[in-house]
Symmetry: C4
Subunit: 294 residues, 4 copies
């Protein structure tokens, strides 16, 4: 990271993933509501738009594994430094602390992707183990970003605090998703909401710190640091409002698709690997995670 594109790339990934989750959660909610079935919770959602064969593939997980692998490679190469030690007359190699932090972050999400694929191909893991691993990955991300902005100037610290808040809310929502007894739509929706919020806040951070359009906030003419701090809180609240509006707007296409495809989407097909068919019910009972759905 450390540059504008370094903030826009993860921001874009989180925004796309979050919007996809918002749409998918609404779609599943409307489908379950029309067919009078209870809502159910999964970490990732199938791409039902193309064909049943595609919907059965864990595309989201492959996307995460591919993206994080790329990220790990870039950070390790970019962060590699060759130094020269004047005392011992030896060349020393070290990684930048920034890049090592990003590497650790990508590595956690890489593991989450692996676990999702394992779960998808019926490796005998507990049902929501990918959500648990996701919580751990987001927690590690929050800790890294919290100590990212340590001992810097107050504006940078505050921007990172809001980032940490949105990541921590994602963790809280995911924990709620797992522990709630009657699965409801709210926790999943809020998990998606917080992910979009985090992504759009990455954008704000990038433009605040490395904007190409106007001077760096330190060189700007604003003489009052307090005004800047208040504006950051205002931007965050504005992001919250606009994403809430987006969540409302996304009900429309999801409702449309759920109505139009009432005949074409096979329910068992849509919810292929996580829906309640006979096999799963059996597995759930074994796991002791059986949701009371009768």
């Amino acid at each position: 990271m450390g540059s504008l594109p370094g903030h826009l790339v993860p921001g874009t990934i989180f925004i796309l993933l979050g919007l996809w989750w918002i749409y998918s959660v609404w779609l599943r909610y409307f489908i379950c509501r029309q067919r009078r079935r209870p809502f159910y919770v999964t970490s990732s959602f199938p791409f039902h738009c193309c064909s049943p064969r595609v919907a059965r593939l864990p595309i989201e997980s492959f996307f995460i594994i591919f993206g994080t692998s790329l990220g790990i490679l870039i950070e390790l190469i970019a962060g590699f430094n060759r130094g020269y030690d004047p005392e011992t007359h030896q060349t020393i190699f070290f990684e930048g602390a920034n890049n090592l932090q990003h590497f650790a972050m990508y590595f956690m999400f890489f593991l989450v992707g692996i676990i999702e694929v394992l779960l998808h191909y019926n490796f005998p893991l507990p049902k929501y183990f990918d959500a648990v691993a996701g919580c751990l990955a987001f927690t590690a991300e929050a800790l890294l970003f919290y100590f990212h902005g340590h001992s810097r100037d107050p504006v940078e610290v505050q921007i990172h605090i809001f980032l940490v808040l949105s990541i921590a809310s994602t963790v809280v929502c995911a924990v709620f998703e797992i522990v709630q007894q009657d699965k409801q739509v709210y926790a999943s929706l809020m998990r998606a909401y917080c992910t979009v919020l985090q992504g759009s806040w990455f954008y704000t951070t990038g433009f605040f710190l490395y904007s190409p359009f106007h001077a760096h906030y330190e060189q700007s003419k604003d003489p009052d640091a307090h005004r800047t701090l208040m504006l950051i809180a205002y931007y965050f609240a504005l992001h919250m409002a606009i994403i809430l509006l987006l969540v409302l707007i996304f009900t429309i296409p999801a409702y449309m698709v759920s109505k139009r495809q009432q005949q074409t989407i096979e329910f068992t097909e849509y919810g292929h690997f996580s829906m309640v068919n006979n096999d799963d019910e059996e597995m759930e009972k074994l796991n002791g995670t059986a949701v009371n759905i009768q």
Copy 2:
């Protein structure tokens, strides 16, 4: 805000709304208790006093939408500044950071009002989606007020911390309202309690910072800042005690009304749009939010 009336207006709104909720929660509790039905949870309450037709209107939501629209207009107009840039010889326009913060706050609650109206007219949203949006709006308000008092003097910071505490408690109560399995009266009552507390604390803030009756606390003769800080905590505890007393006192009219109108209030009419009639039961099952009420 930034003036005495600017604090009294939102304070009055929150106090009125909170007292109305306390009365309505008690009334619903007594009605449910007398008719041996379980308590149920809604974000807003019908005005049963006038006529069945009025009780069916979402007056509370209209009130919120009207109030926040007015607030948005006032803040945008009041906060509009025309400046003159001596270097480029151009007039520049900007909004005050304070006013932008208040605008963001009003906008969140405006969205909550819209969602309540949508839910009332059977737009296919999940049952407690207005409560979730309300939590987001209160969270945004808490964040804005928390960074309102940043880098100011300790008395102002502490007053805002208590405000943030009362708002955060409201959010916690509303989350409890949604996640509790057997709906009980406590979370709704505490939500109302915290809202009144927040409103009455707005009053205290206004009189502390901009009182017309005595000098500004900075110019007052009290030489000891520590005494002032302790007094603020004392005032907050006193507010908590008095509002608890109010909650107790409000049982009396609610109990009276529930007894007197035992014949006149139709149960299905009172709880018109959220009570468990056949349609709702069906909808609840579809949403997977069915409370076990048999």
Copy 3:
């Protein structure tokens, strides 16, 4: 407070109340276990030792009301100051900030006592309303003590932080008591544990700040503030360990009494006003708070 006895008196009250709760919780646990009934939760416990008539009286609540009334009187009289304003040549009257804080604290607990008595005499309030009021009272106490030690020296601040921690844990346990679906013994036991911890910490605070036996810690020969801070944490952990040991030891008399009085204690009599007899079951259903105990 502000003196050694001022800390020992509330400390003694909290320790006695907490030990009484520990004993009563164990006794109820063993009685329920022997008669194969589920554990149930109440804020206060009956004095079964004397006679059925005494057991039916809300002695604990009367004790709280009496104690807090006394405390309010003392604080208002002791805190009354008569000053002389040299400018206006008038005598002014004011209360000490310290005393006002204590007054607010006592007043909250006074209200809790009133609510307990109302509940006991079947005033139509929800079943656990006294626990909710108790949570509010402890929250107010924690806030007051948190801002008690503001801007003082680090040792005093840290002592108050531990006090606030033990009070906050009491609130968390009481909230757990209300929200748990199948009532278990743990939350009630921990509520009692935290109350004793709070009381014994009052003792430590008193002896640390106003000990008659050795010099004030500021005048003591210990030159290292860090050592003192570490010792305070050590004392707190030691208190935790010793009270855990006490909880274990209290199982013995409770078990004895439950065995010996298996014949003499009527179950319905012991749990007179809160046990599951027919009337209560009916009331519970009405309140929507019916615990599934079949």
Copy 4:
């Protein structure tokens, strides 16, 4: 502690205990899954590998009691100081604050071991009382370590903060284990995960502060404290990732053993003292802690 071995010894104990829990939780999960029984929760796990007689012994509890007794002895002897007071010409005896803190910590875990043994031999305590006592012990440990690093340099403070975070997560997971209604595998797994994390972080702390291989971090050539702080956060995230990988890898031996011993392990034997046989069911009903397992 206060030295490299003083950190490696508790670190090793926590790592071994945590790895043993991870393996045992997976084994129990697979056994329950294969025999279509719900997962159940215990604080300690039997050593099934040797013989049924050994599996019935509370070896884990004896291990804890033995280890903490040893620790208490060492700390009291090592911390014993003989001083000479120049004013009064008397020899004075005192314990080091560090050693007293460690003594308090060991004493809490000693009590947990005692309670586990009592529970194992059917002393009439509630079922999860050892988990509650464990929560208290970990809380005391977290408080002690939090005030360990007070008023020292920022690197040492941050290392201790991460230690406190991992201990606090253990407490949260253990509370979840107790309060969850349908027992699931996630909380137990995360409790084990956090314990290993804590142990491996003890190692990191030891090598950071007292490494024999390279200079103390204060004397090292790294001129930038911010880089060191970021590296600490990076190490913590790396630990989180590697232990998550370990959790995944441990599924393999546990799955093997569960498959191979499907015939040899008697289910009732494995879960000897906590499984659902007739006696326990009865006891559970008495305790009001009966998990709905039908």
